[in-house]
């Protein structure tokens, strides 16, 4: 149907619409409480994410962060990973570090041409770990706001069994409302932004919790203070 016709039809119906409590404007902006100090935000974030089966590793230096990263690679006996480009990670030199230790970095930038794209996509499935950064994090729900784009592939936080996210403490917001207030245009020109709250899960079979349905089974956040 043509757009004008479609919208005109709606307008006609609206003339007789009975919509309880419809006001002329959306409700005014929520009044947001003052966020607590960073330490409290960090603790809250860790508690909430762990409550949904995520893991939070608090580190206070780059070298600690690297050590934690290596420990995870060893834990999962990974041979390779999908990673975001360096400029989008809050830790400098991640790829040199990992490839230097013999881990293969997968090619995440796919072709546009369909056949080549399909081939390259199939190659991605072999990597056990994905390493990304995040745009921000939300403390009261244990959520990562992960924004995709150039050098920030979608698959890195989706395909591998393990997702490791590197964030800094100052990226934390108290609530989703606080985050959106700071970033009113959440999408910011990117075709995909995902709010991630723990590893993939389902309760579809008799309500029994199972992790790692279609997304990662393990989510580790290395939080650098």
């Amino acid at each position: 149907m043509e757009k004008q016709e479609f919208l005109q039809n709606i307008r006609q119906q609206l003339e007789k619409a009975r919509l309880p409590e419809a006001a002329a404007a959306p409700p005014p902006l929520l009044e947001l409480p003052e966020p607590p100090a960073i330490d409290e935000l960090v603790d809250r974030f860790a508690r909430e994410l762990e409550a949904v089966n995520g893991h939070v590793h608090q580190v206070t230096s780059d070298s600690e962060a690297f050590a934690q990263l290596e420990a995870l690679f060893e834990q999962y006996q990974a041979h390779g990973y999908l990673g975001w480009d360096s400029e989008h990670l809050p830790l400098a030199g991640v790829h040199d570090y990992l490839t230097g230790r013999g881990f293969t970095r997968g090619k995440t930038r796919l072709a546009h041409e369909l056949e080549a794209r399909q081939e390259e996509q199939n190659e991605l499935a072999q990597f056990e770990i994905g390493v990304t950064g995040a745009l921000a994090a939300v403390a009261d729900s244990g959520t990562l706001m992960v924004q995709m784009g150039a050098g920030r592939g979608r698959f890195a936080s989706l395909l591998p069994v393990v997702h490791i996210a590197l964030i800094k403490a100052d990226q934390l917001y108290l609530s989703l409302n606080h985050f959106i207030r700071a970033y009113p245009e959440v999408n910011m020109g990117s075709s995909n932004t995902v709010a991630i709250t723990g590893p993939s899960r389902t309760g579809d079979i008799e309500g029994v919790l199972t992790l790692g349905v279609h997304g990662p089974k393990e989510l580790h956040v290395i939080l650098i203070q």
Binding site: I10, L110, E185, T197
Partner: protein, 468 residues
Amino acid sequence: MGNVTFYDRIEDAAAHPEKHAAVGSGARRLLARRAQAVAIYDEMDEMRDRGRLIRAHTLSRLDHYLGQFIDNVEKLGGHVFLARDAAEANEYITHLAREKGVRSAVKSKSMVTEEIHLNDALEKAGVRPIESDLGEYIIQLADERPSHIIAPVMHRTRQDVAKLFSEKLDVDYTEDPLALNQIARTKLRQEFLEADMGISGVNFAVADSGTIAIVTNEGNARMSTTAPPIHVAVMGMERIVPSFEELGVMLQILARSATGQKLSVYTTMITGPRQSGEDDGPEEFHVVIVDNGRSQTLGSELAEILYCIRCGACLNTCPVYQSIGGHAYGSVYPGPIGSVLTPALDGVGPWGELAHASTLCGACKEVCPVRIDIPRLLLKVRDEGHQAGKTPAWLNLGLKAYSAAAERPGLYQTGMKMTGAVTRLAGKDGWIERLPLHLRAWTDHRAFPTMPNKTFRDLWREHKNKPE
């Protein structure tokens, strides 16, 4: 859909107690989780009030927000198709599939695609649709319809699933949900990566950015909208918010009401197709906006039902739903929401009877995150049916007789005494096993009590005269 058919489906539900047990316990489990989530969230009431205002305002300016959304999607290189009805929507999607040589389409859960019977249309067009939500995958294998809008396979036990998987997927029999999950994960991963098209629903469209938000716990919406080179999002035209501020509110009340989570695991926000320079994402992005009776509902007495954000809380709390399960309703949308929405979209004539499967207890209204007055709407549906002559003659007559008596106290008293005497004559040990004629249906599954010797008025008179 006559009364007999709905009744038959209810009888069928009653005849399968295992299914009834599964649905009842599943619904109560989700209800308990909602209660927990609400108890720890001080702002829930405030957010619900806000959610209601957001829905009301947005619908009152639906043409404006849809217009804005469409412009924004097209600005980014996305395609928008406006479908008057199911046929138009299916025609667009199958035409696109044929044009692009699509052989398989992987789908994430979408109630509106069930509503328009998209899978049937795809199959007829030679496209293999693959449901990727674990619950939907299971019912697709079982060739069934979903019984709940959030947990589609709530009516099945792990034994059912084990048997299904071992038969249809040629795998070893296992009842362990973790193992069953792993089987599905492996099978579906292959499908995701090789599908030519991904089809999703839309939980909320964001008008001022041309973004669509899709909510899942499994990650199947992310996979369906990332791996295939074409993404088609199908959207009920009322599923829209003005900006991300309102999206934030809706996401928080949705998650808590549906499953008791603070937020669902994945909220994927998609704004247009893959931009040049981006690493991955679909090359083509289409949004199919579906009317299919919604604009007519907007202009009707039932407009408030369009506030619904599809959380399923009303299903979980409804004693009727818990007893008869989702399939008995015979429509894509069961429970209290379905009892209003289905007649609204598809006609009170064939579907008005759903609104009678209710005691008007109001539990649904209590839990609705946007406070839809479902009991009021159920009465409206019943009234529409009555105005259209659906009430049987004997009932009309009986109600007229009762009204006449109720307006005449003397006649009423006499009538009550006589009725009481008749029940005591007809009954045995305080119960009547079988009521006569049209009232027989009442006693198909239970007995009718005989009336006591003394009426309330008798007792009142007696007590009035007693000393303090």
